[in-house]
Amino acid sequence: MARKLKADKLLFLAVVVLVALSAVMVYSASTGAAIDQTGPSYQLMFRQLTWGVIGFFLLAITMRLDYRTWQSPAVIWTAVLVVAIALVAVLFGREINGTRRWFAVGGIGIQPSEFAKLAAILFTGDLLARRMERVNDVTGTLLPIGLVTGLFTILILLEPDFGTAITLLVIVGMMLFAAGLDYRYLFGVGLAALPALYMALISADYRRRRLFAFLDPWDDPLDSDFQLIQSLISVGTGGVTGRGFMEGVQKLSYVPFPHTDFIYAVIGEELGLIGASGVLLCFGVILWRGLRIAMSAQDRFGAFLAAGLTALVAAQAFVNMSVVLGLLPTKGIPLPFVSAGGSSLLVNLIGMGILLNVSQHASADG
């Protein structure tokens, strides 16, 4: 084991590309928001860059910190407790856009639900590493994981932040699956999800009809169907090569949250099929490298950690893209690394730092 510790360069490169793109696209996408709030249009970009710098600093630290450090109960339970308290506390905070998701710490908004995902990954990873052989054991494994994840999920739903709650469940689910969860459980979950799937299909058909019916932007602009239609128009008008950077029109009050949840629509409009596919490719690289790290991890904790962290980024990215493209019902979740938002960027970069550290400790046959 005396080989040189080597981090995964490709993975790192994909993350750098996405964060760089984020700064640029947040600048472009926020011009509409900037008009509304009469603030300078570079303000959001500047803030995003700041978060990026901080994030990469943290990434550099976590990348050098042996991931096994996180496995100690003290760290894990502290993380779980702090996050739980923060999640409760945030419910008593100030309401923004009808939700209570942010803490104002020194003028900076912190979103505890983002950190909840990291805490859940650490907790689940550790538990599964220790009790992998009893993964299908309800009392020994599933209950503790279910309790912690369920608590987080309920607290996040109370904010309310449906998108993040779902993402959290998906991440934990993927980790369980990687640990060998019996297919029967999956089948049960799938059966339970059938009605939801059916509803989604119905609404998709309704949406399609509405899209090609007469379009009046003033017909209930807060409606989620309206948001989705605007998103599809935005992506569609981009064509293959896009309208060009800063040339998008749909970001100007047509597409909702153009610099956060729907930034992928702006990318689609301004950078076209080439840009949108490029972003997808970056996440594909992260997915590929992340799962490869999971497969070749030195120990079980490393493997589950890598799977969870990969899911944190890739699954969330795919959900976001699917929402923007109308493949999934509209739920607000940010696109990792790209959407404007400090907490999300920090958590994801910390996660990538940990993942890169896991990659350095790959087993010989990995």
Binding site: L232, I233, V235, G236, T237, V249, Y254, S277, M295
Partner: protein, 771 residues
């Protein structure tokens, strides 16, 4: 003991089995926390499944991107443009309308249209008040309207369309954000009422609503430009650009001669006033080309203010009204009869005691004509004679000829709302119906159809499509319209016979003395149909005259219809005849059409008898010229003695005084309405009564009753000499010596193969008095 041993053994066996199972389980359990290789294989297989699932998902996303950005791209771009762009049409400048000589009849002037971008205006009320203060004619209501438009959530609103340059400048000086300007054109008709119904008018959005403006709208309108405003979801304008600059419309050159048009309108106004008629209409057509030279109706309207026009004024009666043509239609009956050789012009027809019975129906003439030639039947306009011929023709043939002359069908695409008229199908015509149709009843036609039909007689038998547009000029290219022959109506020989007959109508028939013109032969035909009002015959008439001048090598076909005259008679000749004459005479003179019969001697006017110039002129004259030199001694304001002068001379003198001459009778001046030596002012009307010297009243027993009645009815003007004028039949208003009439000059008629030549207009015919 053995038992107990056995039992123990059995127990032990059972126990062992139990233990074995437990051991096996333990072993399995001990195995399950698998060695590194085991857990790694599980994780690897599971992660591979996960990877496959996520790869599928990624593929789905990429497929969706392809669908949206490649396949559905165009549709979505359309949707995007629909919500992002607001297109405002910038109307093109309409093309000019000019007459055949280039006189402008309609043109467009660019006006400044002031518009606003409402989303850029924060205080609509305030802005409206400020703008309103500098606009002309902006009262409370207008201000409220502007404020309302500015308050609307839209990327574009008009503040004022077609403002004056002054207004635009003042509004611009206010420097209000969100107020813009662009050019929009406004239509002007510099000649006001001139050819108003023909030209039509244009609505606010630059769309022709009537007349040529409407029928040629596509050509005149040009192609509108497009202004595109791109805005965000809150309707704030991001940018505006001119997508397509407007292209000006084509200049349309009408066949109208503004001069003639003006003349015709003046005459129509006059005749309406003179006879208290409800309306009058006239059209001049070039019989060789089908070009309409003038087309007018009274009452009329001012297209610059078409909204104030009466419904009656907007009517282009030449194409939009139908009339029963009355005796005018005898031309068609005669054409059919002559072409089908049912009768010849010479054939004698017994017109009986002035009426005939057709079943229970009585058809009567205005006079008892007895036996006369078919030519005279037309010339005198005998109903009985015409009906007799028509009965020989039969409904089938007459109906065919009516259609062949273009009746019952729209003549041209140039006119909007042109009436096709009514021609009954032959199968439905009883003898009575046939009789009616032959003399112009039970058939309804437009004046334009009459003009086209008469033109076909004038040009030797070709029915032409009437044209109102001579050429269309756009982008430096001028495209002329072409002459279009619809069909042949009658063979040239029959056309010549009809022409000769119509000449006789003017020479000695119903139109004698009403439409004769010095120096020209004229062909004409009258009609005095009763008006149809609400499907019944009313008590009033629509006197009308059709004809062409000169009758040989004709230049103008003229149709005049007067509706319901209430004063001064009602017959076609005395009411419409003078109008016809006035129009024809001016048209001939103005166009320099050479005289086609011997002109009366020239008249020289000397301003001052004693001047040496006059003496020189006199000296230069040969006696054969027999000029009369008039001493225009009358200086301003004193009426000279005109007695004994020819009509021409007298007219000249009156003209030199600025007086208007009104003539009645023919020959030399016998009486003048303003006594010699009396003071006169320019513009006064002096009526001259003319007569042959010495005055010898030839009251012949057979004088055309109809004409006399009219003459009496129309008052002093005509009564003085009406009778003997009619009686003589052949003298001309020019007052030329009788000897001039005596011998027809060969030249004007030279080579014309007309059968009637020998009789046409010569004094030799005097011996062959119609009666």
């Amino acid at each position: 003991m053995a038992d107990s041993n056995k039992r123990r053994e059995a127990f032990a066996a059972a126990f062992n089995i139990h233990r074995l199972i437990r051991d096996a389980r333990r072993t399995a359990a001990a195995d399950r926390p698998p060695p590194a290789r085991a857990w790694r294989d599980l994780v690897r297989s599971r992660v591979t499944v996960l990877a496959c699932f996520l790869a599928c998902w990624a593929t789905a996303i990429e497929a969706r991107l392809l669908y949206l950005q490649v396949l559905a791209h165009d549709d979505l771009v359309t949707l995007a443009e629909r919500q992002q762009n607001q297109t405002v049409q910038a109307a093109a400048k309409r093309g000019d309308l000019v007459d055949r000589n280039g006189h402008v009849l309609a043109y467009s002037v660019d006006g400044d249209t002031i518009y606003a971008v409402p989303s850029d205006i924060e205080a609509p009320e305030l802005v409206a008040a400020r703008v309103c203060a500098v606009l002309d004619d902006c009262r409370r209501t207008e201000q409220a309207e502007i404020a309302g438009r500015l308050a609307r959530n839209s990327a574009f609103a008009y503040v004022k369309r077609r403002a004056s340059p002054e207004e635009a400048r003042r509004v611009a000086a206010l420097g209000i954000d969100g107020i813009g300007f662009h050019k929009e054109s406004r239509r002007y008709y510099p000649n006001r009422e001139l050819a108003a119904q023909l030209i039509g008018y244009v609505g606010v959005d630059n769309v022709g609503l009537a007349g040529v403006e409407a029928s040629y709208d596509k050509v005149i309108r040009g192609r509108p430009g497009r202004l595109i405003f791109q805005h965000d979801a809150r309707r704030r304008v991001l940018l505006s650009r001119i997508e397509q600059p407007p292209t000006a419309g084509a200049t349309v050159e009408l066949t109208i001669d503004a001069h003639l048009q003006h003349l015709v309108e003046r005459e129509l106004r006059a005749v309406v006033d003179r006879h208290a008629a409800t309306a009058a209409t006239a059209v001049i057509m070039d019989p060789h080309t089908g070009e309409i030279l003038a087309m007018a109706s009274a009452p009329t309207f001012n297209p610059n203010a078409f909204r104030d026009a009466s419904k009656d004024g907007l009517r282009n009666r030449v194409v939009q009204n139908i009339y029963e043509p009355g005796s005018m239609f005898k031309i068609v009956t005669a054409a059919a009869a002559l072409t089908e050789q049912v009768v010849s012009l010479d054939e004698l027809i017994d017109c009986g005691p002035g009426y005939m019975l057709l079943g229970k129906r009585r058809i009567s003439d205005v006079h008892r004509y007895g036996v006369m030639s078919f030519e005279d039947v037309i010339v005198k306009s005998s109903n009985v004679g015409t009906v007799k011929v028509a009965l020989q023709l039969g409904p089938e043939t007459l109906g065919r000829y009516a259609r062949r002359f273009g009746f019952g069908r729209v003549t041209s695409k140039d006119f909007l709302g042109e009436e096709p008229g009514i021609v009954w199908p032959p199968a439905k015509l009883t003898d009575s119906g046939l009789a009616s149709m032959s003399i112009g009843y039970q058939v309804s036609v437009t004046p334009l159809q009459m003009a086209a039909a008469v033109s076909s007689v004038a040009n030797g038998g070709e029915l032409l499509t009437p044209r109102i547009v001579r050429a269309v000029a756009a982008n430096g290219q001028r495209r002329e319209t072409t002459r279009q022959v619809v069909r042949r109506t009658v063979p040239p020989a029959v056309a010549a016979q009809l022409t000769a007959t119509m000449e006789q109508v003017v020479e000695r028939g119903t139109l004698a003395h009403f439409s004769q013109i010095d120096g020209y032969t004229i062909a004409g035909k009258t009609g005095t149909p009763r008006r149809v009002e609400g499907g019944r015959y009313a008590g009033s008439y629509n006197p009308l005259v059709v004809g062409f001048a000169p009758s040989r090598n004709p230049r103008f076909t003229i149709v005049v219809v007067v509706e319901s005259p209430q004063k001064g008679g009602y017959y076609g000749a005395p009411i419409a005849g003078p109008v016809f004459k006035q129009i024809a005479e001016t048209a001939l003179r103005a166009n320099g059409v050479p005289r086609n019969i011997d002109p009366s001697p020239r008249v020289l006017v000397a301003r001052d008898e004693s001047s040496s110039d006059t003496a020189a002129v006199r000296a230069s004259m040969t006696t054969s010229d027999v000029p009369r030199i008039i001493a225009a001694s009358a200086r301003n304001g004193v009426m000279p003695d005109l007695s004994g002068m020819s009509a021409r001379e007298a007219t000249r003198v009156l003209a030199s005084l600025g007086l208007l001459a009104r003539l009645s009778g023919d020959g030399a001046v016998l009486r003048q309405s303003i006594a010699p030596g009396q003071r006169v002012d320019r513009g006064e009307v002096c009526t001259l009564s003319l007569g042959r010297m010495p005055l010898e009243p030839e009251r012949e027993p057979g004088a055309v009753v109809a004409e006399r009645k009219v003459a009496e009815a129309s008052g002093a003007e005509a009564s003085a000499d009406g009778d003997d004028a009619v009686g003589r039949g052949f003298s001309r208003a020019d007052g030329a010596p009788a000897s001039n009439d005596g011998a027809p000059k060969g030249a004007p008629y030279g080579g014309a193969p007309y059968r009637s030549l020998g009789r046409g207009g010569g004094a030799g015919d005097a011996g062959r008095d119609p009666r």
